[in-house]
Amino acid sequence: MIIVILCNAFAAAAGLALFALAIWVAVDGYKLYPISGVSGKDDIFAGAWIAIFTGFAYFCTCIFGIYAARKQRRSLMLAYLIIMFIIFIFECASCITAATNRDYVSRLLLLLSCLQVECCGTDSPLDWVEYNSTFRQLYGTTYPWPLNCCKRLSSFEVADSQGCIIGQTSTMFTQGCFTHIESVLSRYTWAVSWYGFSVQMFVFFMLLIAMVYFTQLG
């Protein structure tokens, strides 16, 4: 019984941490949502929302589990097991969704360089030079790349437009947007998918122990 209670306490804490982590992803401090929304692949945020609910549900159910183990009543333990199993299924869905979404980031859409993010082009500013685009049709004679690629002062004016046009590396962003977005997406994916997976593994073994305890009751 002590083991069950201890495991439940640990799982409650882990569930609460999952809840907090999923809120962090959903709040989207890196402003990834507009871009992934455009590409239609925003499942990472769906995974995060599911994880918010399952994390909190784990927390509540594990506290109930501690109560059920103390009371040593079969009916309570059975209810606990069934509820935990249902939450387990949902959390599986969240982890798998978050992990699969990561594979879908599209390079093409990142050529539509992003205003908020400090990057230029898909892999590098040279993407604007090498590839045809609406921008090139309109402004290609004067500017090799959009002025979004240039570093700006705090007043949002371009710091050095002449330097940016000829490509002085000190006056522009040279990192490609794909690299930047891929790294941010990886951070979110690690949070939801991998941490969720580790919580799932712990809960799996804890449920096995709880089932053994259940059979010993009554």
Binding site: F85, C92, C95, D103, S106, L108, T122, V129, M172, Q200
Partner: protein, 297 residues
């Protein structure tokens, strides 16, 4: 006749043309800039220290001009053939340089005065952008290079007074310009299923299936089977020696001899579990266990 011969000799003597000095300089692109090559422009390093060692020039550094010749394919040889001409500056105007049935494939554009490019540069980061004027139409404008071509470049020292070429650098290596690619070829970036995703999916699916299986087994065992598997034998209170191995319980509907398990297992004492579950025997009082009080049913 001798006078005629001497005159002829004098006529036949080749008038030494002023030859163009070739300096040991080669134009190169400015590697430190990101936009050094685009589809129709190139950024070159400035022509510093190229023409400063020359002597006997008819112009000074304030009046000598530096010009640039971008040339493509046959333009190199065409220019080299024509460079001694006094009208070289306007021989191939930019608008027609690369068009027509047999284009000249080169044009000339002014870079600046020789004094603008001293050997030791006062400020770093000098560059010259070929194609800065865009699609222009004057004779010697700095217009776009033909898209996708591989031009070579040469700097010239030109006398501003009589517009002839005094010195030149060597031809640069041909610099391949970009050709515009279709953005569809950027690739969808669908790198296929990553290993992490496969691991997570399989492990979680297996875990969920195993849990479901165990849950069903546990439920089946405990609630539906009725077998007291694992329900530990709670040793009840000892009730007394009931040593009859086999006896009939007459009051039961289907009288079958009841085998006393207490006796079978060599236990000398009976327990609550081993007694038949009828009202008669359940009235045994553990305190006065040697007397069995029979009750009317």
């Amino acid at each position: 006749m001798e006078v005629y011969l001497v005159l002829c000799f004098i006529c036949m003597l080749p008038i030494p043309a002023k030859s163009i000095t070739t300096v040991d300089c080669k134009p190169a692109i400015n590697e430190s800039l990101a936009a050094k090559i685009t589809i129709n422009t190139v950024i070159l390093q400035q022509p510093r220290c190229c023409f400063d060692n020359l002597t006997n020039l008819p112009c000074t550094s304030n009046t000598c001009e530096i010009w640039l010749v971008p040339a493509v394919d046959t333009g190199l040889s065409t220019f080299d053939a024509n460079k001694a001409s006094s009208a070289i500056l306007s021989l191939s105007p930019y608008p027609t340089a690369f068009t027509g049935s047999s284009p000249a494939n080169y044009f000339l554009t002014k870079v600046g005065l020789q004094s603008d490019f001293p050997c030791v540069s006062p400020s770093p980061g000098g560059y010259f952008r070929v194609g800065a004027d865009g699609a222009c139409s004057t004779t010697n404008c700095n217009g776009f290079l033909p898209q996708g071509s591989s031009p070579s470049f040469k700097y010239l020292l030109v006398d501003s007074v009589n517009k002839t070429v005094l010195a030149e650098t060597k031809w640069s290596d041909s610099i391949a310009l970009y050709t515009l690619k279709d953005p569809g070829t950027l690739g969808d970036g669908f790198a296929g299923r990553s290993g992490a995703m496969v691991i997570i999916t399989t492990l979680l699916s297996v875990a969920a299936a195993v849990l479901l299986l165990f849950l069903i087994v546990v439920l089946a065992l405990c609630c539906c089977g009725g077998k007291s598997k694992g329900s530990g034998s709670v040793v009840g209170s000892v009730m007394g020696s009931f040593r009859i191995p086999r006896y009939d319980t007459h009051h039961l509907k289907d009288p079958a001899p009841y085998d006393n398990p207490a006796y079978e297992k060599e236990r000398k004492y009976t327990t609550q579990d081993t007694l038949p579950k009828t009202k008669a025997t359940s009235a045994v009082n553990p305190v006065t266990q040697d007397t069995i009080k029979l009750q009317k049913i």
